[in-house]
């Protein structure tokens, strides 16, 4: 664990001007040796879960012992960082750029001997291209990285997020210095408008327009105003915001400070999910270090502008990702949304004008101020500028974070970068936008991924989760999953959401048991429309999307459930039976030992049989069998 007191590794006085900050940066860069050997270990939640902290410790011990001139950089990055979460723990050796995957403690000695001392790669730890079978040496040559365009994620995987000097050397706070030393509030807002940036949290509202409206509200109502980071990344399957907060917390903080400067806010809030302890810790460290350097707090860079921020930990409520619910939560109350007759930019937190932006949106702001709105507008496509980070998960070979310019086709992300479905079959559909989104079926795989095209296809951008489904995933089950999720997360304030979602879920439950009629599908669609029209907030009004898109693209699969009493994907428990293929079964007894209901019988080394009447369809036998002898039909 890091201690906040000893967080700054160098004795640095407060920086008292933009020039001082720039000089400080140059000094830091001059002090860096580009030829120094560095072992960069990914320390994201994912890699940590796979033991990357033990790998780091092993490097530290061994290097101290062997007296090698290398600095182990611990604490660097999250799963998202180097992207390849499924390949973790990841270790990069600089300056050669060697990329080692699935590194274990026991590999450390070999890496030190072979790579650090002899200068040779350890072949077996390099990534193997599944197409060519060849080992690839560096990160940049791996298709997963090569085909991405990392703009927001540019520092992630390169800097130590717990060391502000590392971030500053990489350019952090350059935009802040630029704004404070020569840009008016108006100019900052104009740059953001010019960039065409749209909110990355889901709805895609133009950020510049939001800021402009807040300025107008301030003229009417005066200050105080507030700026807020929405880090309540609740969409299941999305973790890009977590990665940004963990891997480059200063980018979010700098964006927030710039927003505060543009509006003259003195207080900001970062609302972060409690499920992200590492993100909270890294943000706390980043804020403490920024305060020490005079980049946050009283009289920032001696410019006369003062601003501070604090972190509010979420307490586990999906609805708090909704702006008005988030505000009431910051105020210490249950997170109930309110009707939006008055917009948050006029009446938000504490009833004051407030700008709430998502983590990724804020992280884009320093880049826009630094390089200019026109530069940003040149990325992506006309109405969806810039890049977007997606978390690519589910039935796909390369699971991880992917950043691409807006407007690339779905196939580019899922197939070219993600490597397609394991086994090589085409994907069935990609769910985008989380529980509020919809699915894009395989035949629409060339759909450009931008705000408007996804909406046209019946889905939405959402926060950027992309869940790849294959033939073993049932659309009725997935739609039911999202509905159940939202039903539980509904705050219960308005009737369409509270009762409507329950009713919809009950109808889907019936389908999954083989009960239903064509008429029920029509009723489901009609109820969906009523909820879309009547719900108080976006949680309710977007909840029917997964159901509507799956009915639209996979109506036959719905039908199969109630007309043929079949779940084509073999998921819905009441419609499937488990059996053992006597030709494949070796009679090893593994499944019989694991069966919780003791309903598998057979002699040792003889094919076994499942008693279908006793079977509870838990699937453990299928999971246990090493010979793939358990069949689902």
């Amino acid at each position: 664990m890091y201690s906040l007191n000893s967080a700054l590794r160098v004795d640095t006085p407060r920086l008292d001007s933009a020039e001082a900050l720039n000089a400080y940066r140059e000094n830091l860069i001059a002090g860096q040796d580009p030829n120094q050997t560095l072992v960069v270990v990914c320390h994201g939640t994912g890699c940590m879960a796979n033991g990357s902290n033990r790998v780091t410790a092993a490097f530290q011990n061994a290097i101290e012992g062997a007296d090698i001139k290398a600095k182990v950089m611990p604490g660097i990055k999250t799963t998202g960082c180097q992207g390849f979460c499924s390949r973790g723990p990841l270790v990069l050796i600089r300056p050669q750029g060697l990329f080692y995957q699935r590194v274990k403690e026991k590999d450390v000695e070999e890496i030190i001997q072979r790579t650090l001392i002899e200068g040779q790669p350890v072949e077996r730890l390099l990534y193997k291209d599944p197409q060519t079978g060849k080992r690839i040496h560096t990160e940049q040559e791996i298709p997963f990285y090569k085909l991405q365009e990392r703009v927001v994620l540019h520092n992630i995987g390169k800097i130590d997020p717990t060391d502000i000097t590392d971030a500053i050397a990489a350019g952090a706070y350059r935009a802040l210095a630029k704004a404070l030393s020569g840009m008016t509030l108006e100019q900052v807002v104009s740059e953001v408008e010019q960039s065409g940036l749209r909110g990355r949290g889901g709805a895609g509202f133009p950020t510049g327009r939001k800021w402009r409206s807040a300025m107008a509200a301030i003229e009417k109502k005066g200050r105080p105003v507030y700026v807020v980071v929405n880090g309540d990344e609740g969409d299941p399957g999305a973790f890009m915001d977590r990665t940004i907060m963990e891997g480059d917390p200063h980018s979010v903080l700098e964006g927030l400070i710039l927003g505060a400067y543009a509006l003259g806010a003195e207080q900001g809030y970062l609302y972060v999910r409690a499920e992200y302890p590492l993100a909270i810790q890294h943000l706390e460290i980043a804020m403490a270090q920024a305060r020490e350097l005079g980049l946050l707090g009283e009289n920032i860079l001696n410019s006369g502008f003062s601003f501070d921020a604090r972190i509010n930990r979420g307490a586990g409520a999906f609805v708090c990702g909704e702006s008005t619910a988030l505000f009431t939560s910051i105020e210490g109350k249950p997170g109930n949304p309110r009707p939006k007759y008055t917009r948050s930019v006029e009446e938000g937190l504490w009833g004051r004008p407030t700008i709430l932006n998502n983590v990724e949106t804020w992280a884009n702001v320093p880049l826009i101020i630094d390089k200019g709105g026109d530069w940003y507008a040149g990325l992506g496509v006309p109405h969806s500028t810039g890049t977007k980070v997606f978390s690519l998960v589910g039935k796909v070979n390369n699971v991880g974070l992917v950043e691409v310019p807006m407007g690339v086709p779905v196939s580019h992300i899922v197939e070219a970068i993600g490597g397609g479905v394991p086994g090589g079959a085409p994907f069935k559909a990609v769910q985008t936008g989380g529980p509020s989104g919809g699915c894009i079926p395989y035949h629409l795989k060339e759909t450009p991924v931008d705000f408007d095209s996804l909406t046209k296809a019946g889905s939405m951008m959402g926060s950027g989760a992309m869940i790849v489904m294959d033939d073993s995933d049932c659309v009725v089950d997935v739609a039911r999953y999202f509905l159940r999720f939202l039903e539980e997360e509904s705050c219960g304030k308005c009737l369409p959401c509270r009762l409507g979602l329950t009713r919809m879920r009950e109808m889907l439950d019936a389908f999954s048991k083989g009960v239903g009629t064509e008429r029920d599908i029509e009723d489901l669609i009609s109820l969906s429309q009523a909820i879309q029209d009547g719900a108080l907030c976006a949680l309710g009004s977007s909840a029917p999307n997964p159901v509507l898109t799956t009915i639209n693209y996979f109506r036959d699969e719905y039908r199969a459930h109630f007309s043929d009493h079949k779940c084509p994907a073999g998921v819905c428990k009441d419609l499937i039976t488990f059996s053992i293929d006597p030709d494949a079964c070796t009679g090893c007894r593994s499944c019989a030992r694991q069966c919780p209901n003791n309903c598998i019988s057979g002699e040792k080394k003889q094919p076994h049989v499942i008693d279908a009447n006793q079977c509870i369809r838990c699937g453990i036998c299928k999971e246990t069998c090493k010979f793939d002898a358990v069949r689902v039909s």
């Binding site: 939640t45 879960a49 799963t79 399957g237 973790f239 409520a317 978390s391 999953y481």
Partner: protein
Amino acid sequence: MAPVGKDMDTILEQYPAKPEYLIFLLQDIQSSYGYISQESMQQASDHAGVPLTQAYSVATFYQSFRLDPSGEHEVRVCLGTACHLKGGQRIVEELERRLNVEAGGTTADMRFTLNTVNCVGACALAPVVVVDDDYHANTTARKLEKHLKKLEHDVTADGEGQGHV
């Protein structure tokens, strides 16, 4: 029950006496004591200057608060979309059977509390189960049971046994 972290006085002293700190207070109580007792809820609401009913409404609105004591170890099964597709629900059901407790409940011997969580954001590791602070990647109920048995054993052997990341 003795607090694992800060005691009640320390928690109260940390925050200004304002309603906006109610959630902070309850979070600290939850993490120190594992649940929010009636007495501590009263103290928190007094300190924040809100009626007890409001503290109760907050404590029951948000999922991370518990009003009953929780077990020595918390087992959280992720039910995010990726985990769902890879069998997270099956793990919950299987753990319910093996631990003889329903999701949300605590075993009779107070050893384990079984919870589900919407998404821990570690989708590459699906299905994921977090035991205390330990992430178990690509796991199965069977592997987990082995781990939980070990925890149980460690508890009796040396009086502690939480493995933190």
